[in-house]
């Protein structure tokens, strides 16, 4: 018995510590600022960024946050602007972190709107909280179609969902690549599985095999054996770059030269790092995102000047999402209620597209692009027209 107590004590202590840490932030819950009236600028007004800033898939989150910060900085630099800060909610991309962070964001009344959540899995957890609280959330990257079907009045996204990306990926595989036999793999995530399922149904008889891997898996030899056995001439992977890169490397190491097609969640240099430039060569990536250098206005130049690197995947989408919120705050919509109404009726050009939402919060203007890895770089290949 004594030994059991000894074993349990450190764990109990650790658990207490963890809960204590979780409770300390986001404590200020004075409801005064929301009653400030339409024209007032509430002290300490802020917008949240919700996404992975650390963890295995954090590159995308950091790209987005940089875009968001750029939009906010540009807003703050205007004369007499209502000063706004960015509050980061680092979910690490994990759905199980999203509930606590979502509650934190809802409770902090200084937060007027959210850019994010960045991934689909965490969106499914956090968006209902936002909807209940009337806190507007514009996601720059969560593409699971089902997210828009929940009747959340606060859900918006600035890019096409997987219902547009999936068919585009399938059409690219069958028409541009002329593949007859396709092997489809997903990572069982909200996003990866949702997208891969659309590709599966669109491919129909061209799908010769499928598999589901686990996030965090590192050894894919059984998957590679399956691909080899199927004699596939193209592989579609629905998921994020960590696993995609390792799978690709192990395919090539095993001598499988099948063309690898993957999605926007894998559109990151992390894919090339994990797979190795030689192995990644020729890989196709579909994305409902505009090539960063095609973004309008002075976005590319401003971003490069601010961060010293070219914009990454979803930086421009993050900028657009934040710009909508900034436009609202500039127009004096400084309560959650007013800002939500403002976003709903927004219709103006952004750097990626005309920004306007339908009644479900989907963008009315959608384009899907194919990218290719050439010489270790992800370069725009062509726009995939709806067929």
């Amino acid at each position: 018995m004594r030994s059991i107590v000894k074993l349990a004590t450190p764990f109990a202590a650790a658990a207490l510590l963890l809960t204590a840490c979780g409770g300390t932030t986001g404590g200020s819950t004075d409801a005064e600022s929301s009653a400030g009236g339409a024209s007032g600028c509430p002290e300490g007004a802020s917008i949240g960024f919700f996404g992975a800033l650390t963890g295995p898939n954090s590159n995308l989150g950091n790209n987005i946050q940089n875009g968001v910060k750029l939009a906010v900085d540009q807003h703050n630099a205007k004369p007499d602007a209502c000063q706004v800060t960015v509050t980061p909610y680092d979910s690490q991309g994990l759905p199980d972190q999203a509930s606590g962070l979502g509650t934190q964001a809802v409770r902090d009344t200084k937060v007027l709107g959210i850019v994010g959540p960045a991934f689909s899995g965490e969106s499914k957890v956090a968006d209902p909280l936002f909807a209940e609280a009337g806190l507007v959330g514009i996601t720059p990257s969560a593409t699971n179609p089902a997210l828009a079907e929940n009747g959340w009045k606060t859900f918006f996204r600035v890019l096409g969902n997987d219902a547009s990306q999936g068919p585009a990926a399938a059409s690219y595989i069958t028409t541009t690549l002329q593949a007859k036999k396709v092997y489809v793999i997903d990572d069982a995530s909200e996003y990866g599985k949702g997208l891969a399922d659309i590709v599966r149904s669109d491919l129909g008889a061209a799908k010769v095999g499928d598999d589901t891997v686990q996030t965090g898996q590192t050894d894919f030899s059984a998957v590679v054996a399956g691909i080899r056995a199927s004699g596939a001439d193209a592989v579609f992977y629905g998921g994020y770059y960590s696993e995609a890169g390792l799978l690709l490397k192990q395919m090539r190491d095993a001598g499988v030269t099948t063309t690898f097609v993957t999605d926007d969640g894998a559109k990151d240099e992390g894919l090339v790092t994990a797979a190795g430039a030689a192995n990644a060569e020729g890989t196709i990536i579909t994305c409902p995102c505009l090539p960063p250098d095609k973004a309008g206005g002075s976005f590319v130049a401003d971003y490069t000047a601010a961060y010293g690197t070219a914009p990454g995947t979803y930086s421009a989408e993050g900028f657009d999402a934040a710009s909508i919120l900034m436009a609202g705050i500039e127009a004096g919509k400084t309560t959650r209620e007013d800002l939500l109404a403002f976003v709903k009726s927004y219709d103006a050009p952004g750097v990626t597209k005309q920004l306007k939402f339908d009644e479900k919060g989907e963008p009315s203007d959608i384009s899907v692009w194919a990218y290719k890895i050439a010489g270790g770089q992800i370069v725009a290949d062509q726009e995939i027209k709806a067929s």
Partner: protein, 327 residues
């Protein structure tokens, strides 16, 4: 399942299984002499993997260099990883075990201190960018410490080529190297423990520590030696893992450590040959299971197998322990 796929699954399963087995030796050896699970062993492996990655970066290894220099670089990386892992294992023994043993603390206390060491070692690696920042070395060491919590890739200078094919399945050079190297290492260790003077000490302490002490065996030296041997093998396993998988990160030891521990228990913990057998069986079971049920069932299959084996053979497949196996 076609014959080709079966051979494919079997072969690649053996490759991964051999890595598990090599890694599992550290658990099995320490259990053999101390009757304790060294939960910090997963971090011993992780540190070895980083040593290999950094040495390869330092020496400028890249794909497409000649075969002989590539092999030379891999050997240097192997030695570096083994030394670092062996060193970390000795540090674990010194900090987490020695003092507690000297005070005759109950075994569970040592278990907890090993878990603590595991967290410390893992987080030190995961926060290496900040640690380098404190001592003002973040800039000069940037390539080694930046993105501390993300995957770091190992550049394998040896291009993988097809050696020969068995009924359609192409056998690749990397796979053969990993498999052969792992088995050679394990046979070498097994022979060392069986035949050498030091090995006899290890077996003596594992059979009866008091009698061994009376016969003039220095127990502390033997315990150090087992930690060192386990660490060296973990370092070798780390390099083979990197050749096969290609990336590592600060928490890579967690899942792999559980797998290696499973392999050790499966084969019979405390038994060196059991570790190899357990590793190979686990690797095969994962691959067959993944193919039949889908890759997301991989871990389910391996742990189910463990439960089944333990139900019918509580001491593992080969059972018995280090000393008794060949007394």
């Amino acid at each position: 399942m076609s014959l080709e796929t079966f051979i494919d699954l079997t072969f690649t399963g053996l490759v991964v299984g051999a890595i598990y087995g090599l890694f599992a030796l550290g658990y099995t050896l320490v259990y053999g002499v101390l009757r304790l699970i060294n939960f910090a062993h997963s971090e011993v492996f992780m540190w070895g993997s980083f040593a290999a990655v950094w040495v390869m970066m330092l020496l400028g290894g890249r794909t497409g260099m000649g075969v002989l220099p590539a092999i030379g670089l891999l050997l240097v990386a192997l030695v570096a990883a083994m030394l670092v892992s062996g060193g970390v294992a000795l540090v674990v023994e010194r900090l987490a075990y020695r003092r507690l043993r000297a005070k005759n603390a109950p075994p569970l206390v040592a278990l907890i201190s090993a878990i603590g060491m595991s967290f410390v070692l893992s987080e030190v690696m995961g926060l290496r960018d900040r640690i380098a920042g404190w001592v003002g070395l973040r800039e000069p060491l940037a390539p080694y410490v930046e993105k501390a919590r993300e995957n770091v890739s190992f550049v394998n200078p040896l291009q993988s080529v097809t050696l020969f094919s068995i009924s359609g399945f192409q056998v690749r050079s990397t796979q053969v190297i990993v498999l052969v190297a792992a088995i050679v290492m394990m046979v070498g260790l097994d022979q060392f423990v069986r035949r050498s003077r030091l090995g006899r000490g290890v077996r003596a302490v594992s059979q009866d520590p008091e009698a061994a002490a009376l016969m003039g065996v220095d127990k502390n030296r033997v315990i150090q030696l087992t930690f060192l041997l386990g660490g060296l093998m973990a370092g070798a396993a780390a390099v083979l893992y990197l050749m096969h998988i290609g990336v590592t990160k600060f928490n890579v030891g967690f899942i792999l450590g559980i797998k290696a521990f499973t392999a050790a228990v499966l084969g019979g913990i405390g038994n060196i040959r059991g570790a190899l057998l357990g590793g190979l069986v686990l690797g095969l079971a994962e691959n067959y299971g993944s193919n039949i049920f889908g890759s997301n069932w991989k871990d389910v299959v391996s742990f189910l197998l463990l439960v089944l084996v333990l139900l019918f053979r509580p001491t593992g497949i080969l059972g018995e322990s280090l000393g008794k196996a060949r007394a």
